[in-house]
Symmetry: C2
Amino acid sequence: MAANLGEFERIARFFAPLAAPEALQLLDDVALIEGPPGEQYVLKTDAIVENVHFLPSDPAGTVAQKLLRVNLSDLAAKGARPFGYLLTTALPHDRGDAWLEQFAAGLAADQKHYGILLLGGDSVATGGALTLSVAAIGRIAKGRAVLRRGARPGDGVFVSGSLGDAALGVLIAKGQDLGLSATYNDFLIDRFRLPQPRLNLGASLPGLASAAMDISDGLVADLGHLTRASGVAAEIEAAQLPLSPAAAAALAVDPARLGLVLGGGDDYELLFTAPAAADARLMDLARETAVPVTRIGRIVAGQGVRVRDKAGAEIAVPRAGYAHF
Amino acid sequence: MAANLGEFERIARFFAPLAAPEALQLLDDVALIEGPPGEQYVLKTDAIVENVHFLPSDPAGTVAQKLLRVNLSDLAAKGARPFGYLLTTALPHDRGDAWLEQFAAGLAADQKHYGILLLGGDSVATGGALTLSVAAIGRIAKGRAVLRRGARPGDGVFVSGSLGDAALGVLIAKGQDLGLSATYNDFLIDRFRLPQPRLNLGASLPGLASAAMDISDGLVADLGHLTRASGVAAEIEAAQLPLSPAAAAALAVDPARLGLVLGGGDDYELLFTAPAAADARLMDLARETAVPVTRIGRIVAGQGVRVRDKAGAEIAVPRAGYAHF
């Protein structure tokens, strides 16, 4: 039997020909449709699966929050404000009312936090893994969404927050001993369970960033998507990657863990490019939103993503993002 | 361990408190959000699962079409025109590119037929049954959507097309011999695989019907939803239920199969109520849209749904609709 295509090849071959102009060639992971006067709706759908995106040991409440937040993170990356969501649950028979009550409590907490409400849903039973899907809807002023295709040579490459935490956290949650303190372990597990969609920072990027997306598949894989959409290349300096104290400690124990920072995924941080003229305003924004913004490299002509160490030597990246098929 | 709540109790207890005003208390299975000037978007999400809503023997192309059509059927019931959809697939590992190619071809055929386009999606792998979810978006003139809550005593109860075909068809598709001809078997299997969303008829119901929904869980169960939402009761005459020649033949072999007509589900016909003044126009509409419209009973004061035989005796209904949990 011939090997199957990968996720992105399947999208390009089978689904891109079906896509509406509003779906932006499926390159942006969102669609923009006409909204009330002066506005557009931003549509996004993302599913999470037990043992892939979350673990059986994760509390039902944080599973609900992660489900919402991975979708809100995409809205943040376009500069949109979240509005509401549709929910589909495929529950194994062993998830009873007690689980569902905690799940709903997690949704309620995040609805309040992010100012969104449930617009509808569907529930089915599954004999397989718990699978949850949300279609999230955001709003943005017409024509202001920040797409992936606007990066230009000379632009800086920026990320919000810190990278690699979730990829380290899931290992700890699965029982691996990374040689860290209990406090660091808890911090990293929390980063895996509870992404922080950067909505305030994202809402300030229209007019400032030339291209933007969120990091879900891993920095290098996602920067690859952005540079392909823009027809450019990127050079990243590994020494500039923002690490939490916990992740820095993990890399001090084993420097090979840099691979998780570059390619582990599940970061849900913003990845964006901006011309030099935006630098000062970006640093102000980081202060105003209390979200670190770090310049990690630059856009150049060509194609591909290269990561260099302090000496300028290229670092091989171990994995090219999740492939869900 | 205490028994878990049923699907509708779970919705009422856990999800209704989370719902937006636009979600209409989750009573209509759709949300209405503000659209371009003078319009609203109608949002609907429905998932289908292998061995529940379709069979492993169903061609991938008709699985795709059923997935779209069960969602379009809800849009039809509100009087909306379909606009686009988001797609989430949870594929078992044995569904390779050949399956996906046929699946995409089914989507393409229905996109053309219904004038809709793909707006985005997500793909995950599952170790369980193939599960497919669509979030469909329609458009309708502001304030024109036909809701479930408008039925009034004295209104007639109407259905489109014929009832029970899909519930009989799935038995045949599973290998049961219902004692019918090969032609009838094929017709009924086709009705199970390929719902016919009544979009043209539905688009003519605003201003005419007092309440409307589509039949997915079975006539009696869904009429129960409509009458509860409206605060009324319904009386149905079994002799008036529209049957295809194939279904009529199946009931001639075994009259107990009336239970499948009343409660089998998967009909995806329109169920609506209208005052007597609308009768003439409804019969015109049936001719214009080439979709049969049959008056099957009436709305009365009280609560509940009663089905009566020719002698006026009440018929017990064997099942109260799908319960997916």
